[in-house]
């Protein structure tokens, strides 16, 4: 017992030490001419891999910018903050950045619940918050003309994802009747609620609506019902494990080639496709970015990232944080000043040549970003284009 207690104490003090070290001394040492940018996200805990990706992406951008002479003669100095993906830890880390480190520009968080908690804090402190990874639509419902003037998001929302999938299904695949089959949690039900915003715009009706537990293994009764319902596609938001089962059982029910899978559920994952290739042919899914995206800027990033991190292929969060540091640098250059208010005004009106196209912010300070649409063809995911959809903001 005694050793266990001591070990826990040591672990706790180590954790405290790490978060303090991340927050204070490195920033305090920064030269006065540097532009300090906070990067806040889950650096420890279950979601730490995402925080690590974000940090690596942002670090690469800062290194590249500084190597090219910095911004307006200043070097960019990143400061790390750990939110563990919780609002409580995140707000503490953010307040440390603002009050102790006098940071005026912050990138974060990965997790939507933490980002939502930061919005009022940066508003009071007049600190510019740039989000590059949270997908909850309400973050920018509340920004810009929605209220908060200091929050910007350079990442597509779940609502845009839902809209783009339905737009493609309606316009390119001529699908107008869908059967809803989604996982029974915030993600699955949330995505369907957002999809319904677009049903009218794209002339889509739902013939049935079912939600399953992530552990459900038997879908045949539902699929039999869907078979006779006239549905042209199954609109599904779920996880890879369920997608495999649904696809396999669609094969059993003779639905292969007759009903397409659209939505999000790792449909383009090789393991999912292998479960039932004939069912997954035609499956549609949207992503914010992927390493095989074909643009010069995107390819340069992948190349530089792999060179910087021993051949590691960058994931979407590394990309969005790299891109957003570059976006911030462009806004500072445009403002001609490091004054946060001037940078905020510059950002609101910026036209930035991003890796996936031109980045502009709408009246809610939400970047109007494209998503890459994948469709499975002959057992391989194929990029069918880059699509945009305007967000239908709820009326105040």
């Amino acid at each position: 017992m005694k050793t266990t207690g001591r070990r826990i104490f040591l672990m706790l003090s180590a954790v405290c030490g790490v978060s303090l070290a991340g927050g204070l001394p490195s920033a305090a040492r920064a030269a006065s001419g540097d532009i300090k940018v906070g990067v806040i996200g889950p650096m420890t805990g279950a979601n730490a891999p995402y925080g690590s990706l974000a940090w690596r992406g942002a670090s690469l951008a800062a290194k590249e910018i500084n190597a090219a002479g910095g911004v307006l003669g200043h070097k960019i100095k990143l400061v790390r903050g750990d939110s563990q993906c919780t609002p409580v830890e995140g707000v503490l880390a953010l307040q440390r950045m603002i009050s102790s480190d006098h940071i005026k520009f912050v990138l974060g968080d990965i997790c939507s619940s933490a980002t939502l908690a930061y919005e009022p804090i940066v508003e009071n402190a007049k600190v510019l918050l740039l989000n590059a990874a949270s997908s909850d639509p309400t973050i920018t419902y509340k920004a810009g003309v929605g209220g908060y003037k200091w929050t910007f998001r350079n990442y597509p929302t779940d609502e845009q994802r839902a809209g783009i999938v339905l737009k493609y299904a309606s316009e390119k695949m001529h699908i107008h009747k869908v059967a809803i089959l989604s996982v029974d949690n915030d993600y699955g039900r949330g995505a369907i609620a957002l999809s319904k915003h677009f049903f009218h715009r794209y002339g889509i009706t739902a013939v049935s609506e079912d939600y399953f537990q992530a552990s459900t293994t038997e879908f045949l009764p539902e699929l039999n019902k869907i078979k006779n319902s006239g549905a042209q596609a199954i609109l599904m938001y779920g996880y890879a494990a369920s997608s495999r089962l649904v696809a396999r059982q669609m094969l059993e029910s003779g639905l292969a080639g007759k009903i397409a899978l659209i939505g999000n559920g790792d449909f383009t994952n090789p393991q999912t496709i292998a479960a039932a290739p004939s069912v997954l042919n035609g499956a549609v899914e949207a992503a914010a970015w992927s390493p095989d995206y074909n643009s010069a800027r995107s390819k340069t990033f992948v190349h530089d990232y792999e060179a910087a991190y021993r051949g590691e292929v960058p994931q979407v969060h590394a990309f969005t944080h790299w891109e957003t540091i570059n976006l911030l640098a462009a806004a500072i250059r445009k403002a001609g000043s490091v004054d946060p208010a001037a940078v905020r005004r510059a950002l609101a009106g910026i036209t930035f040549d991003g890796a996936t196209g031109v980045v502009k912010f709408d009246s809610h300070d939400q970047a109007d970003l494209p998503m890459i649409l994948y469709q499975v063809e002959n057992g391989k995911p194929v990029i069918k284009g880059v699509f945009r959809t305007a967000v239908a903001y709820p009326k105040p």
Binding site: T217, F219, P221, L245, E252
Partner: protein, 287 residues
């Protein structure tokens, strides 16, 4: 459509029956509910996955190997734990089997990792039966279930070991007096029950596909409902209850909503107990 739903229900019901009957024979002889029962179903599926994925065996070869692995596993657990539960209180049995359940679940996660493994095997090509497509594996599940239940009925009613099982179920003290080796009967019955769960796991794995440590949890709960409905210890009752549950789940999933599927087992249990408080077949002294 209705015919499809009944067929699907029958297949899933057969899976439930096959797992539950193992729980039922253990309950009958030992007088304890085996709350780790779903974990032997998981172990069977994992062992077959391991044989196919790591040893490169075919599905048909993986079935006996998986059953053998689970038999050895339950020999150890039976010897160390289950034999001691003959004359102990019901709550001690619950704690012991729940503990085993945690050990097996986390053991599987420790050995094979927390991510889902994909089971690659079985005969999934559809066959046309009565004008409807159905995967061969599903037909096989029903046939195997019928064969197992036939064999069990014979074992319990006609064989010498069946007589011993029935004797232990009826009166343990009397068996001791007569010189019957109760611990041996308990151990063999336990291995029989768990290998039936493992058989069910291997037969179902090609359909459920995702293999992970906690996959047996839901199975344990449903088996519990099935054996209570079937009449705690009745073999024929377990088959009937399994089928009723499978078919009801299919109908509810299609006509009421998929989100209510997992509520069927216990709603049905309450209804059956209101109508027949001792289950479909009240044969407590069957063995």
């Amino acid at each position: 459509m209705l015919q499809n739903l009944l067929t699907d229900g029958l297949v899933i019901g057969s899976v439930y029956a096959l797992v539950s009957v193992g729980m039922t024979v253990i309950l009958g002889v030992l007088g304890q509910i085996n709350f780790a029962h779903g974990e032997y179903y998981m172990a069977g599926a994992f062992a077959a996955w391991w044989a196919i994925d790591r040893l490169g065996l075919s599905y048909i070869e993986s079935i006996p190997l998986a059953i053998l692995i689970v038999a050895v596993l339950s020999l150890v657990i039976g010897y160390v734990v289950m034999q001691r539960l003959v004359d102990v209180s019901f709550d001690a049995g619950i704690i012991a089997t729940l503990g085993i359940s945690l050990l097996l679940q986390n053991g599987a996660t420790l050995l094979f990792g927390g991510t889902y493994q994909v089971f690659d095997g079985g005969w999934l090509a559809p066959m046309r039966v009565l004008g409807e497509d159905i995967a061969q594996q599903r037909i096989l599940i029903v046939l195997v279930t019928l064969a197992v239940f036939g064999a069990l009925e014979w074992l319990v009613r006609k064989s010498s070991f069946g007589k011993q099982m029935r004797a232990v179920a009826q009166n343990v003290e009397c068996c001791h007096v007569l010189g019957l080796d109760v611990r041996r009967v308990v151990l063999i019955t336990f291995i029989l029950g768990t290998t039936l769960a493992a058989l069910s796991g291997v037969m179902t794995a090609p359909i459920t596909m995702n293999i992970y440590g906690a996959m047996g949890e839901a199975i344990t709960l449903k088996s519990f409902a099935v054996i209570v409905m079937g009449g705690m210890g009745s073999i024929g009752g377990t088959l009937l209850a399994g089928w009723v549950l499978g078919i009801m789940e299919s109908l509810v999933a299609a006509y009421v909503g998929l989100q209510f599927r997992d509520a069927v087992a216990f709603t049905l249990l309450v209804l059956v107990l209101m109508w027949r408080p001792s289950g479909f077949f009240n044969t407590k002294a069957r063995y």
